[in-house]
């Protein structure tokens, strides 16, 4: 699949944004994080900003963005529509929570409910995003039991690492959160490795034989319908060299997992402001690493239509 930047950025940014929002909603709502105006403003701003930027970026992928509002109508069948609905609906409790928690400094009553609802909304939205990909049968690398948990884990991981960076920045870091960040990063790492391992061993029942209905033997593409590349090939016939993949997988592991784990582990033993700087570095590295991961998520995904073109 063609790794369009708009979609790569969208899923990475909203993943982190919703993860952060969910943590803020739960932890802020129950008062685990004290309602500090500037911390609240920046953290809520970052969460909603990542979400908004991601959503905006995703409309860059649309042929007719001015009609994007229509995407809320088909929630009964379409995960994309559900994602749209969930993402917009989540803004309501998130907004209320922001007002209550940041502006009014409250951590009780309806603010708690709004925070929890925002967290639920965030989780639901991430689930819908994951399901968009997980539901696509023609792409075996996505249509797998690894996809949805992956989205949730990476959302929680990037959200928590961001939250840690924010708290450390305000010198209110928590070792529990640090531990959670570390565990989630290790879980994410492990999940990604497992996913890759799964994908590398995939035995896809769909072949050029089943695609053409020509049973037995080999089916080799002789000539394409048109000699030049068309929409299908540009969008779904993307190919990446094995060598290139291996390199990008190493970069992903380094930036998204190894480096953050290392930095966060060090943070345990360090005082502010060094802890803050390293925490921010960990978050930045992880975000960059996740962009690479998401690029690979697309680039390594093979659509069945490529079989028709001998790819």
């Amino acid at each position: 699949m063609h790794p369009a930047f708009s979609v790569v950025f969208f899923t990475t940014a909203t993943g982190a944004g919703y993860g952060l929002l969910a943590l803020l909603g739960v932890l802020g709502g129950v008062g685990a994080i004290l309602a500090d105006f500037w911390l609240g403003l920046i953290s809520m701003g970052l969460a909603l900003g990542l979400i908004a930027a991601g959503l905006l970026s995703s409309t860059g992928h649309l042929g007719r963005p001015e009609r994007a509002w229509r995407a809320f109508s088909q929630w009964r069948s379409s995960w994309l529509s559900r994602e749209g609905v969930a993402s917009v609906v989540t803004f309501v409790p998130a907004g209320l929570f922001g007002i209550g928690w940041v502006l009014l400094g409250r951590t009780d009553g309806w603010v708690v409910i709004a925070g929890l609802l925002a967290a639920v909304g965030a989780v639901v939205t991430v689930c819908t995003t994951g399901m968009i990909y997980a539901s696509l049968k023609p792409i075996a690398q996505w249509h797998s039991r690894y996809t949805l948990p992956g989205y949730l884990i990476f959302s929680a991981m990037t959200g928590s690492v961001l939250l840690n960076a924010l708290l450390q920045g305000f010198a209110v870091g928590s070792n529990i959160l640090l531990a959670v960040c570390l565990l989630l990063s290790l879980l994410g790492w492990g999940w990604k490795l497992a996913t890759w391992r799964h994908n590398d061993r995939l035995e896809i029942p769909t072949t050029a034989n089943t695609a053409t209905g020509l049973a037995g033997g080999t089916v080799r593409s002789l000539e394409w319908p048109h000699t030049e590349e068309n929409y299908l090939l540009k969008e779904m016939g993307f190919r990446i060299a094995r060598k290139h993949t291996a390199k990008l997988r190493r970069i992903t592991q380094l930036l998204a997992f190894a480096l953050p784990v290392l930095l966060l582990a060090i943070v345990f033993a360090l005082p502010w402001p060094v802890a803050a700087v390293l925490s921010v570095l960990a978050a930045a590295a992880q975000f960059a690493g996740m962009l690479v991961e998401r690029w690979l998520f697309f680039a390594e995904a093979k659509h069945t239509v490529a079989l028709y073109y001998g790819r």
């Binding site: 699949m1 992928h61 649309l62 042929g63 007719r64 963005p65 009609r67 994007a68 229509r70 995407a71 809320f72 109508s73 088909q74 009964r76 069948s77 379409s78 995960w79 994309l80 529509s81 749209g84 968009i132 539901s135 696509l136 049968k137 023609p138 792409i139 029942p205 769909t206 050029a208 089943t210 695609a211 053409t212 209905g213 020509l214 049973a215 037995g216 033997g217 080999t218 089916v219 080799r220 593409s221 002789l222 000539e223 394409w224 319908p225 048109h226 030049e228 590349e229 068309n230 929409y231 299908l232 540009k234 969008e235 779904m236 659509h303 069945t304 239509v305 028709y308 073109y309």
Partner: protein, 244 residues
């Protein structure tokens, strides 16, 4: 509405005979020509005279080499929308632009509702969706919905443009939901197959496999030729035949 109809009154579709298709591209341009002025007009061609030419086509013909222990064959393979019974391209559509008609099973796109998110093209395993980058919407084979019921065409012309044009009669059209229809009988007789049945999309269109190198191939049960046994060999045989 992108929920699928529980039942369609008819299951209109195509049957494509891979044993007969010579890859002449008649169906390809006939489709282009009709549809570029038809229901989904235009089928835009970007850079039509340049090096990055890329046009919208609803029907494309591939060619393959199929090799088995029995031998090899070149197979021309027309590919277009299969108007599946359970088309995920419809259910993934967030706007309701994609839909499957309850009356005849044709899968269509309502262009006015399409936001061009391209998800339907990701959901279609067959590559039947064609994005018109100039208009910003997804387009696709309409099974010539503007021909098959068209009161402005003579009754006999109310078939898809590709079927009307096909010079070798490799394309057939009808109701595959009716087991007694001519197309259903043809599929039964020739062992028509679904493409990617494992996907579970239940395509309506069927493909009739090539017969060469199979038990269905045309064959002549000819005994080996023996030299004439007449005295004088062949010339002797000629003389005898003429004197009979």
């Amino acid at each position: 509405m992108t929920c699928l109809p529980a039942h369609t009154d008819r299951r209109l579709g195509l049957v494509i005979d891979l044993d007969t298709c010579v890859g002449c591209q008649a169906c390809v341009t006939a489709c282009k020509e009709w549809n570029t002025g038809g229901h989904m007009a235009p089928l835009t061609d970007v850079d039509p005279y340049g090096g990055n030419v890329d046009g919208v086509w609803f029907n494309r013909v591939h060619s393959y080499e199929h090799t088995t222990e029995m031998g090899g064959r070149t197979v021309n393979f027309p590919r277009s929308c299969l108007h599946c019974e359970t088309p995920a391209c419809v259910t993934v559509c967030p706007t309701g632009a994609s839909y499957k008609r309850a009356s005849d099973g044709i899968v269509l796109v309502d262009e006015d509702k399409c936001i061009g998110c391209k998800l339907c093209s990701w959901a279609c395993p067959y590559g039947a969706r064609e994005f018109d980058a100039d208009v910003g919407v997804m387009k696709k084979c309409t099974l010539c919905v503007d021909r098959i019921y068209n009161d402005n065409l003579a009754e006999e012309d109310r078939v898809p443009a590709c079927v009307a044009a096909c010079p070798t009669s490799a394309r057939h059209f009808g109701d595959l939901g009716d087991p007694t229809s001519a197309v259903s009988l043809l599929v039964a007789e020739r062992g028509g197959v679904d493409l990617m049945p494992e996907m579970g999309y239940h395509p309506t269109n069927k493909y009739l496999p090539p017969r060469a190198n199979t038990a269905r191939a045309a064959s002549v049960p000819a005994p080996a030729l023996e030299p004439v046994r007449t005295e004088g060999g062949f010339l002797g045989w000629v003389d005898r035949m003429l004197s009979n």
